[in-house]
């Protein structure tokens, strides 16, 4: 065993990278659920975002256009869900599951020509002086743009939900859509916008995997991160900062367990492999003891004629 082989600086820097796709997808889903909609299609939207981002950045040579395309791809796919659940009043659980299956198939089809292709690299934002600082430099200032977007988005979602009128309307729609409707708010419109936002975030998370974290395209490469994002929202009691904490915890312990294995620590590998799931669930369950409930209208369909 040689724990000194593990560098805390590099560990923290790479846990932030590992956590970002999860964070992006979960923060988007949080907004969707706050509006009272349960979209189980996160995995599908992520993988479609991953291939849209990959394909566009390969074709145009610009990773930034790819990032935009990924958000558009995720959002467009989520429109299908929005149509099914908000206009056709289809069951949200079934529609969400269908969206995941559809997204996985669609992405495999779209990605056929992109296997084994290398995407253009998105550089890290090396801020002069700051990123050269010892310890804090690589952690705070040595990352790519999307990672900072993820952090900024968390703060923005938190502030919007807590302090703004838009956030208040969104929460009202999620808590009691009848009342929100009676007050004159357009419930369906608010929900569709939330669904689109969630789709764009999930798409961005997917593109982070295919363009930055891995970076390559292979079928099914999101490998269940969308499902973990869904669980994370629930365990985080629908609170943005807890989503961030959960994502970093999960990403962090995942990276840590790989590092511990490489350092040859004497804990059986099986325990290390399951630790990210166990510890994240455990911590978030303890945190969620404050009994913050789910939005009251979560998963319930709404139609103005009711």
């Amino acid at each position: 065993m040689d724990l000194s082989a593990i560098s805390p600086t590099l560990l923290i820097a790479s846990l932030m990278v590992a956590a970002t796709p999860l964070l992006l997808a979960a923060i988007g889903e949080l907004v969707v659920e706050k509006a009272g909609v349960l979209n189980l299609g996160v995995e599908g939207m992520m993988i479609v975002g991953a291939i849209c981002g990959f394909a566009v950045s390969v074709e145009t040579g610009s990773p930034y256009l790819g990032i935009l395309a990924a958000m558009a791809g995720g959002a467009i796919l989520s429109m299908l869900f929005a149509f099914l659940t908000q206009f056709a009043l289809a069951n949200q659980v079934a529609s969400g599951l269908a969206l995941t299956l559809f997204g996985l198939g669609l992405s495999a089809l779209m990605g056929q020509g992109y296997v084994g292709v290398k995407p253009p690299a998105m550089g890290t934002l090396n801020i002069p002086v700051l990123s050269d600082l010892p310890f804090v430099g690589p952690i705070l200032f040595g990352h790519d743009l999307v990672l900072y977007i993820g952090l900024g988005l968390t703060a923005a979602v938190w502030a919007t939900l807590k302090y703004t009128r838009v956030g208040l309307i969104l929460r009202a729609v999620g808590e009691n859509h009848e009342a929100a409707h009676a007050l004159g708010y357009h419930v369906v419109r608010v929900r569709i916008l939330a669904i689109l936002f969630g789709g764009a975030c999930a798409g961005l998370g997917g593109a982070y995997i295919s363009l930055i974290r891995v970076p390559q395209w292979t079928e099914g490469m999101t490998a269940g991160i969308g499902w973990i994002a869904l669980a994370l929202v629930v365990f985080a009691s629908w609170k943005p900062w807890r989503v961030l904490l959960g994502a970093y915890l999960f990403g962090g312990i995942n990276v840590l367990q790989l590092n511990l294995q490489a350092a040859g620590i004497a804990i059986p590998v099986e325990y290390l492999a399951m630790s990210p799931y166990l510890i994240t669930i455990l911590v978030l369950v303890i945190l969620s003891a404050d009994k913050s409930a789910a939005p009251a209208s979560l998963g319930r369909p709404f139609h103005a004629s009711h």
């Binding site: 790479s14 084994g116 974290r213 390559q216 292979t218 790989l258 590092n259 490489a262 590998v269």
Partner: protein, 356 residues
Amino acid sequence: MKLTKLLATAAVAMGLATSAMAEKTKVGFIYVGPVGDGGWTYEHDQGRKAVAEAFGDQVETVYQESVPEGADAERAITQMALQGADLIFTTSFGYMDPTVNVAKKFPNVKFEHATGYKTADNVSVYSARFYEGRAVQGHIAGKMTESNIIGYIASFPIPEVIRGINSAYIHAKRVNPDVQFKIIWAYTWFDPAKEADAAKALIEQGADVILQHTDSTAPQAAAQAAGNVVTFGQASDMSEYAPFPRVSSIIDDWAPYYIARTKAVMDGTWETANTWDGIGAGMVGIGEISDRVPADVKAEALAMVEKLASGEYHAFTGPINKQDGSAWLADGETADDGTLAGMNFYIEGIEGEVPN
């Protein structure tokens, strides 16, 4: 009465139809990953395409990809047998018991299970001696490392993978006594994000050579990003990362075997077999050793390939001790296939434990 008659007629008609179509041999494949994984499943699918090309209209090939190992595999294999496949290749270790179970129910269908060891009257097993290829990679790895730390991304603790680690270690150690292996068990055959994270963790801990027994090219991408890290292609050539970081590769070539076995079914000469071929028979290929490998190392590696192919040299030749120091192979003794097939121990010098 009428219904029974109808059913009977239908059954006869079906029987006639089936026998009329029986001239066309149907060959099925069950894959563990997507055909576009660029590694293990990709190469099996190349073998399937070779069968289709070799026999043209005489065969029909079908496949199902991304079939999880376990209970669902049994369903997928059964379904393929029900669809009238004459020969079914199940191409992952975890399909072993499902294949045997389904084979009992379909005595007229021939089954071929890759990398397993359970046979039956209608079940053959086949695998490749990848450890021969890993011996070559280990040699190159031991010569190329400057930090003397070699990272190894392992998938599942099964004999196939443990054999690979041991073989690579023996030959790295032989040319570089200071070499040290850092092993990460990923518990997946194919998860690019996890493989990338594992590669990064190994690189951060000083590894400048990464060997992998997982199927994606994510470790190559991570190595490329890190700059000065050597990798090898796994299962397929992964030449898009050549000449560097990928300096050579182990390539699976299933096509000749698949064609031969399909031919045997068509001729009616198919028999249960236990095939384990290596570099000599062409089932294991060594991808081009790139110019980033010094010429003398390349020559040594190629000489080893020659000797392994001709059978002059066995990758597990003593003296080799087990990890606990007990003797395994005496000087000049070579390992027998039975021990190799069930290998569940590290050899002396490797740190850590084999997960149970």
